[in-house]
């Protein structure tokens, strides 16, 4: 299970947001897309899941040409994708519990009780037990993010996309979320793609890292290769974050 992208280009009018990005997102590992704000990370993720159409390039999910799928095949493939949006994108007319239960109700034959258990389990994992009956408008930004994660993992997706899962979280909860993402990846062998600004989580859980700057691929490698990376932009990016390179887990 891996996702291969080749030569992805995307422009909005005159503005070239992505230029010629190649990468392979490996299975059973946490693939991280990092880069400055506005460098095109979200646009790249949206291209990969098909919410935006790249102007040029190819996308393969386990060898399947994603851009050539018809509507029906696309829907079936997407049922294996879980995605957390940068804006959380919770359904605001539904409660937290209904949000997490939504994919289960739509795509499985689980009974009401099984769904209830599963929802409670997912909320427990994101550190939000017992919040089922709250509405998204009653939650804080970080809580919305976590509900978004719970919804994304409810169906045990094969491909998990998280757009800034721990922005707006305190360091402690951020760590919980990092471990959750890592555990899920190991447990279900998912191809996990995490977009992040948080260098600390990059250095602790990032197995494969794609560094984008101004819409171009600047560097790729593993977290262990970062200290020896021969790329000034990357080194500068890491240095300004102020995170000690000693936190890298080997």
């Amino acid at each position: 299970m891996s996702i291969l992208i080749k030569g992805i280009c995307k422009s909005f009018g005159e503005q070239k947001v992505l230029q010629d990005i190649d990468f392979e997102f490996a299975d059973s590992s946490v693939n991280m897309i990092i880069g400055a704000s506005g460098s095109g990370k979200t646009v790249l993720a949206k291209c990969i899941v098909g919410l935006l159409k790249p102007d040029k390039g190819e996308i393969y999910y386990d060898g399947v040409d994603f851009l050539k799928l018809n509507e029906k095949e696309l829907r079936l493939l997407r049922r294996k994708i879980g995605m957390l949006f940068q804006s959380s994108a919770l359904f605001d007319s539904k409660t937290v519990g209904e949000n997490v239960a939504f994919p289960l109700e739509m795509f499985t034959k689980m009974s009401k009780n099984e769904i209830k258990d599963r929802v409670a389990f997912c909320l427990e994992r994101v550190n939000l037990p017992g919040t089922e009956s709250k509405y998204p408008s009653e939650l804080s930004g970080g809580m919305k993010k976590r509900v978004g994660i719970a919804r994304a993992i409810a169906l045990n997706p094969k491909y998990l996309f998280c757009d800034e899962p721990n922005s707006g979280l305190d360091p402690k909860t951020a760590e919980v979320i990092d471990h959750l993402i890592e555990d899920i990846t190991d447990e279900f062998k998912t191809t996990t793609i995490v977009i992040s600004h948080d260098i600390k989580s990059v250095l602790t859980i990032g197995d494969k890292i794609l560094f984008i700057s101004k819409g171009r691929k600047e560097w790729e490698g593993t977290r262990q290769e970062i200290p020896s990376a021969n790329n000034a932009t990357l080194q500068d990016f890491i240095k300004t974050s102020g995170v000690n390179l000693q936190v890298i887990r080997y």
Binding site: G50, L77, R78, R79, M83, F85, D92, P103, M106
Partner: protein
């Protein structure tokens, strides 16, 4: 899919060109909207989810649209019926026509024109703007994207229940409105001694044909489809933020009212 490419092409062309060519392409704009509208309808009626999901949603919509609009329909219909009686009485005050004409005019105008058209114009403002702002808000807050990424056909999930809900609720409301217009007419006549209950109902019985009711229902069904689908279209393709959602709601009301008036004429022309 090819059709879609063609319409996108028009938009791109429009952004690249200027001057008289641009004017020509602007003229193509309605075709772009019609094409995109038809494609959306096709996507809407491609049902991909479990039937239960749709049934539940349809029920919710029927209740929301129906119950939510009963009060306004009640008040408006009563008064339209009453005005019908008063104005007809004024027109025939010379005494040349029998009083039964009042019942005839009020009943025929209610069934053929007032109940379906006026009620639907009101509902275009009430139900239509509601649909647009609901779907539009979901669009700008990425909730529709979230549905799509999960593999849900967002068009059929969101729009289909609204269209079916409107197709059920609006004809019921229109029938209710027609009934109330008769009641209003009678009340105004009897309470002010313009016409007696017997004269009024005699007028209704002699001149009103069963086809009037059929025609009313045909209109109600057509208009409810127009209101729900055009409003959904406006909401589904919103881009931007809160201001654009507001603008789309206004556009939805204007466009569905205009379409209703035009279709109203065509139906009268070809069915009467």
């Amino acid at each position: 899919m090819n059709l879609e490419k063609y319409f996108c092409f028009i938009i791109v062309l429009q952004s690249k060109l200027n001057g008289s060519l641009c004017k020509f392409v602007c003229m193509m704009q309605p075709f772009y909207h019609i094409g995109r509208y038809l494609l959306l309808l096709q996507k809407t009626f491609t049902l991909t989810e479990k039937l239960k999901v749709y049934l539940e949603a349809i029920l919710i919509e029927v209740v929301a649209m129906g119950i939510g609009s009963v009060m306004i329909v009640f008040i408006i219909s009563l008064f339209i019926g009453a005005v019908g009686t008063v104005q007809t009485a004024y027109q025939i005050s010379s005494g040349f026509y029998p009083k039964t004409v009042i019942g005839n005019v009020v009943s025929a105008s209610a069934l053929l024109e007032m109940a379906p058209t006026i009620t639907c114009l009101i509902l275009a403002g009430k139900v239509g703007s509601n649909i647009t702002s609901e779907i539009g808000t979901m669009r700008v807050t990425e909730q529709i994207d979230a549905l799509e990424v999960m593999g849900v056909n967002s068009a059929s999930y969101l729009i289909f229940p609204k269209i079916i809900g409107a197709l059920i609720a609006v004809p019921i409301l229109v029938t209710f409105a027609a009934f109330l217009m008769h009641v209003g007419g009678i009340l105004a006549g009897v309470l002010t001694d313009i016409v007696s209950y017997a004269q009024f109902t005699e007028g209704v019985r002699t001149y009103t044909q069963p086809f009037f009711v059929t025609f009313m229902l045909i209109k109600a069904v057509s208009f409810s489809f127009i209101i729900s689908s055009i409003s959904a279209y406006e909401g589904y393709f919103v881009r931007g933020g809160a201001i654009e959602v507001g603008k789309a709601s206004t556009a939805a009301v204007v466009r569905s009212c205009t379409t209703i008036i035009i279709v109203n004429y065509l139906l009268a022309k070809f069915l009467l």
